[in-house]
Structures are given as structure tokens and as C-alpha cells.
């Protein structure tokens, strides 16, 4: 009887360790290293195509797989994340996008890491409500287990923006749910992307962005294991319709990578509208 009790204790300890590790790994997924970007209320203009490349490199990261910004089998130290995005304005209030995610783990080849499809929209015209509100829904597919334990995920974001004088404040609370793969039985995870921007000059302006993930909504991770980053950024518009956002991110917890550099560039061009203009009385489309 004494032996059985001892075995039971060991089993319980192993089970709790396995659960802790599982949820710790899942929690790291809410910070998407392919996209250090805060989505604002404004959507792509109707008929406008935007081509964007979002890049990040972990200048100082973790040496163990699955820690920091990585959720797969590669360590984050020295990892390059590279995303290509095509974004099209369907109407004055809704845009559609497709993503291709690539990665170059340290000492490994540049390779496919995943893809995603997204719809994003805004409600009413800017300035009608006290805060401008938008919505965002995305389905992500990961190359698993190399870059994530989950094969498919649903991501939902409300978008909240407020302009005060020359400052813009944007908040994207992020809710993620695993659809296929490890963690499918678990509920929604919570993360965030937020930014404060000063509109100085069109070519060059400063801002600060925040990204983070807290784990499952009903069972958040210990603060030490969560990821939280602060990114001072410079951003603006260059000639020929090119936009950029460049910054260095600093991890604020042990679970974060200490230093991540991001370089995002976008180019937009009118290619032709599929639908007619949206009237001011329309709220959603």
C-alpha cells in the first residue's frame, strides 16, 4: 500500500509537470514573431493592394527550443522571421489578406513556416464614435512541430483607436484558439499588441509599441513565463507609396527574448475596385 501511494505521488508529480510544460509552451504562441505590427483602425482603401514584408531577428534570445518567441523545435537565439503579406481593400470598410511565413533558424536553412488568411474591417467612419473601432479575424496554419505545436489557430482581435492631437493610441487585444494540434481542447489564450504614435513628420515619426501574451484566459501563466515586450519604433512614409516601421524590442520577463529587432516595409498601389463606394450610412460594409 505504501509503495502504491508513492507511485501515485510520482505519477501526479509527472502529470503536473507535463501539464505545466504544455501550457507554458502554448502560452508563448500569443506573441507572433512574424508580425510585430499593431493593426490600426484604418483599412486598406477600396481597390488598393498593399504588399508588405515584416521581418524580425532575435538578436539576443533563448538557447533552448520552445522558449522566447519560438514555439517549435528551434531555439530563438539568432532566428530570422520573415513574412510576406498581400492585402486588398474589398470595400471602404473591409480588407482581405493572405500571408506567407518563412523562417531561418540559426544554422538551418531558410524555410516555410506557415501561412494565414485574414479579414479585417472597421465600423462607421473615423471620428463618429468616441473611439474608432475595428475587427480582425484570422486563420493561421503552422508548419508543425517545427514552428508551433498547433497546426491551425483562430485569432480574433477587436481594434480600438483614439487620436488626441498629434498622438494616436491603438490597442489590439488578441484572442487565440487552437483549432488543430496540441492545445485543441484548451480555451482561448490572451495576448495584446498596442502602440502610441506621435505624428511628427510624414517621413519620420517616433512611437512605442507593446506586445505580449498571458496564456490561457482561464489559467494565465506565471508572470515570469509570460512574454511582454516594449518596442521603441520609428515609422513613416517614403516616396513611391512605401511605408516603414523599424524598432528594437526589449523583453520584460524571463519568458521573453531579451532583444528582438523588427523591420517592416509596405508598398501600396491601386489595382482596381471590385465593389462600389460605401455610403456614410453603412456601418459595417
Amino acid at each position: 500500500m505504501h509503495l502504491r501511494l508513492d507511485q501515485l505521488r510520482r505519477f501526479a508529480w509527472a502529470l503536473s509537470l507535463a501539464l505545466t510544460l504544455t501550457f507554458a509552451v502554448r502560452a508563448r504562441a500569443q506573441v507572433n514573431p512574424w508580425e510585430f505590427e499593431v493593426y490600426s483602425y484604418a483599412t486598406e482603401g477600396r481597390g488598393t493592394l498593399e504588399l508588405e514584408t515584416d521581418n524580425a531577428v532575435v538578436a539576443k534570445g533563448h538557447r533552448l527550443a520552445g522558449e522566447g518567441t519560438t514555439a517549435g523545435v528551434f531555439p530563438s537565439q539568432g532566428m530570422w522571421f520573415n513574412q510576406y503579406e498581400a492585402d486588398y481593400g474589398l470595400t471602404d470598410r473591409i480588407e482581405a489578406a493572405a500571408y506567407l511565413m518563412m523562417a531561418a533558424p540559426r544554422d538551418h536553412n531558410y524555410q516555410y513556416a506557415g501561412s494565414a488568411l485574414r479579414l479585417r474591417g472597421r465600423l462607421l467612419d473615423p471620428g463618429v464614435l468616441p473611439v474608432d473601432l475595428g475587427w480582425y479575424t484570422e486563420i493561421e496554419f503552422h508548419k508543425s512541430p517545427q514552428f508551433d505545436d498547433a497546426r491551425a489557430e483562430l485569432e480574433l482581435r477587436p481594434i480600438i483607436e483614439k487620436d488626441l492631437g498629434s498622438f494616436s493610441f491603438v490597442a489590439d487585444p488578441i484572442f487565440e484558439k487552437v483549432l488543430q494540434g496540441e492545445g485543441r481542447q484548451a480555451g482561448f489564450e490572451f495576448g495584446y499588441a498596442a502602440g502610441a504614435y506621435y505624428r511628427g513628420t510624414r517621413r519620420l515619426s517616433p512611437g512605442v509599441e507593446f506586445y505580449g501574451g498571458a496564456g490561457l484566459i482561464d489559467s494565465p501563466d506565471p508572470i515570469r513565463e509570460q512574454q511582454h515586450y516594449i518596442f521603441p519604433v520609428i515609422w513613416g512614409q517614403l516616396p513611391f507609396g512605401i511605408e516603414y516601421s523599424i524598432g528594437a524590442g526589449f523583453g520584460l520577463t524571463h519568458g521573453s527574448d531579451p532583444v528582438v529587432i523588427k523591420l517592416n516595409f509596405a508598398f501600396e498601389h491601386f489595382v482596381g475596385a471590385l465593389f462600389g463606394p460605401t455610403g456614410p450610412s453603412k456601418r459595417f460594409f
Binding site: P126, V128, L129, P130, D218, Q237, P239, F240, P280
Partner: protein, 118 residues
Amino acid sequence: MLLAARFARRVLFSAGPLMLCAGLATAAAAPAPSLQISFDGHQFTPRTLAVPAHRPLVIKVINASGETIEFESFKLNREVALTPGEAVEVRLPALRPGRYDFYDDFHDSVPTGYLLAK
């Protein structure tokens, strides 16, 4: 953390409808002076538009040209694409006195225009 998540959810669910109602009421109660900018011949007319400061505005932008433009203002955080012949109303908050740029983001060669709030 769990308590914080619950609190955040309650705030979102309770404050959201209130903010929407307040916003719609504000929108209905604040008539704004009507102003106009047109685009033709590869330029905006007028190039400088004087507008009243300290009160919300609605500016009608008309694309009278044969090309698609994107009326954009970096300072005012507004951008909208207009196909040939299209007109839109751009709603602006109360502005401090000063100069605010606007331009066609699809054509760099179009001269920048300005709103002069005073």
C-alpha cells in the same frame, strides 16, 4: 491575473454598448461646417483651405479627375481612395490652430495641400 481577466471582460461588455450609444448621440448632436476640396488637373483646389479651429469639421472631397487618387493626411490620420467622379465626406475632430497637410498618396508629383486652422 484571473481576476484581472474577468474584470477586463466585464468592462468590455458593459462599457462597449455605452460607448456606442454615446458616440451615436455625439454624432447626431454636432453639426459641423461644410467645406470642400476638389481634385482635378493633377492638383487639389484650393491648395490651402482655411478652416475654423476648435470645432469638428466635415470636408467634402471630390475627385473630378479621370484618375484614382488617395486623399491622405498624415497629421490628421485620414486616408480614403476615390475613383474618378467620386466624392466622400471626411470627418475631422476639433483642430488646434495650425497647418495640416493633405496629399494624394498614389501620386507623389501632386503638390501637397494644407488645411489652415485658425
